[in-house]
């Protein structure tokens, strides 16, 4: 194996093993930041030794053992320091147990629990949403700071600092490394799901930049969702989120034209939908429903996505069912965005006039003031009702509001087309 091959192999091993190693170490040393440092030290050791010695048979175990040795050194050093402090007669701080922890016993326990704890600590509410996203991608997704920065179009030092600060906050706030129980679990779980779906959405319809989609981010989010579903198999909303992401991701190839323009749902070539992901999405949704309880917001959105996935042609779409699902969603999580989507479904099920009535009720909504999809949907309905001049103004307004370059071009095209014949409807989600 050449040195380059070895480096590539080390990258791969890191991607596969790092989350489990960091999770296991965090439980032992009780500090995510220190655990990650120790894991990184082990990675550096691998980069130094493996090109000479070859990749070991069990590279994960090698990394963990090496990290463990570094940890023992770290604790011994601290202990020596502590003794020195005592000898110098310095004032004693609150006595912590500074003995070297029992690594082997800790390592034999089920690693799955540690991973789940790592998920919860990375998405802890003491952290800002941005920090949760960065830390989750870094610790659980195994992404480098550079990869995260590229994905979010942010400078690398910004992301690096965000991660450092997040780890410091977790240490300062003494956030316990545990899986929350009882009433706290639901709230904490929804924070985790929010982070994963945010990553997915940033990949699925990039809010800024030149690309309409960044598929790698969708894949990262899906991978995290699938991991979480295995770690918490009894949580219907986790399955619901996985179902939603699988079904939405199934359309990835169909929603961009060869020249990079977005293609709206009803115009997509359904032969390009990924049947493997659709099947996985249906299976996840079925499991969510079998787990019982009231359908949560992600399961409801997945059920809506499934309505589209089931329709072999746009005409076969069960819009009445979609309207009913949006009504359930609006009751559970009332929001102007859900109302807007419901309006689109109503227009498809019961005609553009009925939809427009609902949309007009939303135009005064302050939270939608900068939201480009409101004028976009309104323009579409006006166009269908033959009110082309008003439609054109709405499309132009939508184009001015979006930060995505590809989407802006599409909206300007539609504005121009208002002088001509009929145009396709806006994309329902």
């Amino acid at each position: 194996m050449s040195a380059t091959d070895t480096h590539r192999a080390i990258d791969a091993v890191w991607r596969i093993e790092s989350a489990r190693i960091i999770a296991g170490l965090t439980r032992i040393v009780r500090d995510v930041g220190l655990a990650e440092e120790l894991a990184q030290d082990a990675l550096v050791a691998a980069l130094q030794q493996w090109p000479e010695s070859g990749v070991p048979d069990n590279p994960g175990a090698w990394l963990m053992a090496t990290a463990k040795h570094h940890a023992i050194d770290h604790f011994r050093r601290n202990k020596r320091l502590e003794r020195k402090h005592q000898e110098l007669g310095r004032e004693l701080q609150t006595q912590q147990e500074m003995a070297v922890p029992d690594f082997d016993a800790a390592l034999d326990d089920d690693i799955g629990d540690d991973l789940l704890r790592l998920v919860f600590i990375s998405c802890h509410p003491v952290l800002s949403t941005e920090a949760r996203v960065a830390l989750t991608l870094r610790l659980l997704g195994g992404l480098t700071t550079e990869e995260i920065a590229r994905a979010f179009l942010a400078p690398e030092p910004t992301i690096a600092q965000r991660i450092v600060r997040a780890k410091r906050t977790l240490a300062e706030e003494r956030v316990p490394f545990e899986v929350p129980r009882g009433a706290e679990l639901a709230a904490r779980l929804s924070s985790v799901l929010e982070v994963i779906y945010l990553v997915f959405n940033e990949g699925y319809s990039a809010t800024a930049g030149d690309d309409w989609m960044r598929p790698a981010l969708c894949e990262d989010a899906l991978r995290l969702g699938r991991i979480l579903a295995e770690l918490a198999p009894k949580e219907p909303e986790v399955r619901g989120l996985v179902a939603l992401m699988e079904i939405q991701a199934s359309r990835s190839r169909a929603r961009v034209s060869s020249s990079g323009e977005p293609i709206l749902l009803l115009d997509q070539n359904r032969a390009h939908w990924d049947q493997l992901l659709i099947r996985r999405g249906f299976a996840a949704l079925e499991r969510a429903e079998k787990l019982g309880g009231m359908r949560g917001p992600y399961a409801l959105q997945a059920a809506i996505a499934a309505c589209h996935a089931r329709a072999l042609t746009p005409e076969e779409t069960d819009w009445a069912r979609i309207v009913a699902l949006y009504e359930a969603l609006a009751q559970l999580t009332p929001s102007p965005v859900v109302e807007l989507n419901r309006a689109v479904a109503v227009a498809m099920a019961f005609g553009p006039a009925a939809g427009l009535e609902l949309v007009d009720g939303l135009t005064a909504e302050p939270s939608l003031r900068g939201y480009h999809l409101l004028p976009s949907v309104r323009g579409d309905l006006l166009k269908k009702l033959g009110r082309s001049d008003e439609a054109r103004a709405e499309f132009e307004r939508a184009a001015a509001l979006t930060r995505n370059a590809r989407e802006r071009e599409l909206l300007l095209d539609r504005a121009r087309a208002c002088a001509g014949s009929s145009t396709p409807p806006a994309e329902p989600r």
Binding site: A9, A12, I227
Partner: protein, 125 residues
């Protein structure tokens, strides 16, 4: 990135795979499912039950197996979603190491083929 792994080996083996290998492979695939990377897999029926529909010299014909001329045939496949080809290679190495350990004398290969995804069709700007 999506990869299809095709496992190839000689047909007409001396017997079924050892139980230790089956158990180890089950554990490996369980781990891959837990890691969110294994999205589909399957074992294929023997080529004695297969049929090739072939176009040759302007003639389309269906030919039933087995196909004794083939030294190695695809016996199974698995579909993974991974971050890089290196990750696929690492997975295949582990899979083959299990065979080495649990099935002395077995020979074969895992071929790694990337399945194109949306990222492989960059917009022609």
């Amino acid at each position: 990135m999506r990869f299809m792994m095709l496992v190839k080996h000689a047909e007409n083996l001396s017997g079924p795979p050892p139980k230790e290998l089956m158990d180890a492979m089950a554990k490996l695939s369980e781990e891959a499912v837990k890691a969110g990377t294994l999205v589909d897999s399957g074992g294929l029926a023997p080529t004695a039950m297969s049929t090739r529909v072939r176009l040759s010299r302007g003639q389309v014909a269906a030919i039933d197996g087995p196909f004794t001329e083939a030294k190695e045939v695809v016996g199974g496949y698995a579909v993974f979603e991974l971050k890089s080809k290196a990750e696929a290679i690492e997975g295949a190495l582990r899979f083959m190491e299990l065979h080495k350990k649990h099935w002395p004398g077995w020979e074969g290969e895992t071929e790694i083929r990337q399945v194109f995804g949306p990222e492989d069709f960059p917009p022609k700007a």
